[in-house]
């Protein structure tokens, strides 16, 4: 965790029409760091996460991930298709609704991007995919269609698919929110293993206990601002800001099952 941070965001702004969703966001994530983004619905967590791999292109500010940086502004050109794609290939993203490719088997889902984006040989891609599927405990499902899997299994395939591009950073947008409660654990476990392996991660989650145990830092957002930021345990156990206290009190009453 030394040297320049893996992710650096400065002065980030984004509006959808008249609605300003991100207002001057500044954030750094060290290499191997795990940051949890918390905040009420509509506070801009997903938008911030999608800005990190430029699925949403910000209006203003700058983003650096690893060695690649982009600067945005009214007078600046929209980034071109090729550099955008190259940048995204080095950040993995996991979605709430899995977004597996339904017309492909589990294995084909995982080898698709290594082959068609990276130009990897099929055989190498299959070897890589099988080792990743093994890592998420689904090697025996390689030839099944996604529709035959449980939600938890789908999400683990989605994680393997993202890892197949050997990303520098993994982004999780409410990866467990669409799962039945009894399936949440297996996905959180997979994410925890990944964090322990030293992956740099930004996690949007409503699993407060998980954030407290796995994340190094917590960023609390409201109305497009970062309201509070600090070490995970500190912010969750003894929040300083009124908004954070309010938000967390909902969870402490009915703690989410693990």
């Amino acid at each position: 965790m030394t040297g320049a941070p893996m992710i650096e965001i400065t002065g980030l702004r984004k509006s959808f029409g008249p609605l300003e969703v991100l207002k001057d966001i500044n954030l750094q994530v060290p290499t191997g760091g795990v940051v949890a983004l918390l905040g009420p619905s509509g506070s801009g967590k997903s938008t911030l996460l999608r800005c990190l791999n430029l699925l949403v292109v910000p209006d203003d500010g700058s983003i650096r991930v690893g060695n690649t940086s982009f600067t945005f502004g009214k007078s600046l050109q929209h980034p071109k298709v090729k550099p955008l794609a190259a940048f995204r290939s080095r950040t993995g993203m996991v979605f709430q609704n899995f977004n597996l490719f339904p017309h492909m088997t589990v294995l084909e889902n995982v080898i698709e991007a290594p082959i068609y984006v990276k130009g990897m040989r099929r055989k190498d891609a299959v070897d890589l995919a099988m080792s990743l599927l093994d890592k998420v405990g689904l090697a025996d499902r390689a030839n099944q269609r996604p529709e035959t899997l449980s939600g938890g299994q789908k999400q683990r395939v989605a994680i393997a698919r993202a890892l197949a591009m050997t990303p520098e950073v993994m982004l999780f947008d409410e990866a467990t929110s669409a799962l039945d409660p009894e399936l949440v654990g297996e996905v959180l476990q997979t994410m925890q293993k990944l964090a322990a392996d030293g992956m740099t991660m930004v996690i949007v989650t409503h699993e407060i206990t998980f954030a407290r145990d796995v994340a190094d830092r917590v960023v609390f957002m409201r109305d497009g601002y970062v309201v509070e930021e600090g070490p995970a345990r500190e912010v969750i156990d003894s929040p300083k800001m009124e908004a954070t206290k309010n938000f967390l009190s909902h969870f402490h009453k009915g703690a989410t099952p693990r």
Partner: protein
Amino acid sequence: MYEWNFAILWDYRWVFLQGAGVTISFTAAIVVGGLVIGLVAAMCLLSRFAILRAISLGFIELFRCTPILVQLIWCYYALPMLAGIELTPVTASLLALSCYGGAFYAEIIRGGIISIDPGQKDAAAALGMTPALAMRRIILPQALRRMSPALMNQSILQFKNTSLVSVLAVPDLVYQGQMAAHDSFRPLEMYTAVAVAYFAILFPLTLFVRSRERKFGDNR
């Protein structure tokens, strides 16, 4: 009371077979041509460039809002005058019918593409795919599968539309039927045979499309 004589059809079997061959090859050509045109037009409709969207929309509406018979005649007589080129009846027919089909295919393909969950596009982009690669590998395969019944229905219509090429003296099934009718003075038998031939080819196809539709209805 008219005396039917279907036995006479046997004498014209080669005439009819030839016509059927022309009709089937014509259909194959305009389905392929139409799908290519439709795909390009659909991509233009979904393009981020307004000019491409406008051109595509203009093309589609032009061909959807004029009768196919008029297009056919116009392509054969007027287009060569305007463009200063020679068109054979076959080329003019292929052009008009492919464009006509393409206009309808384009709408179907566009609908199929926008019906695909936007999450698929996000996932593809997040993996580093360019929009073009995502379209080819992720979006289109799903969209084509979903819209295949609609595309097949349109192709069945295209099969029937080929009958219009007889006005340009292209020797399709209808034209050959006309020839046989003049030759034999037996138009009723000949046109009955033509109708039966169309039905015999299309009925099994519609049954097939129905079964596909049912299949797609089930595992949505």
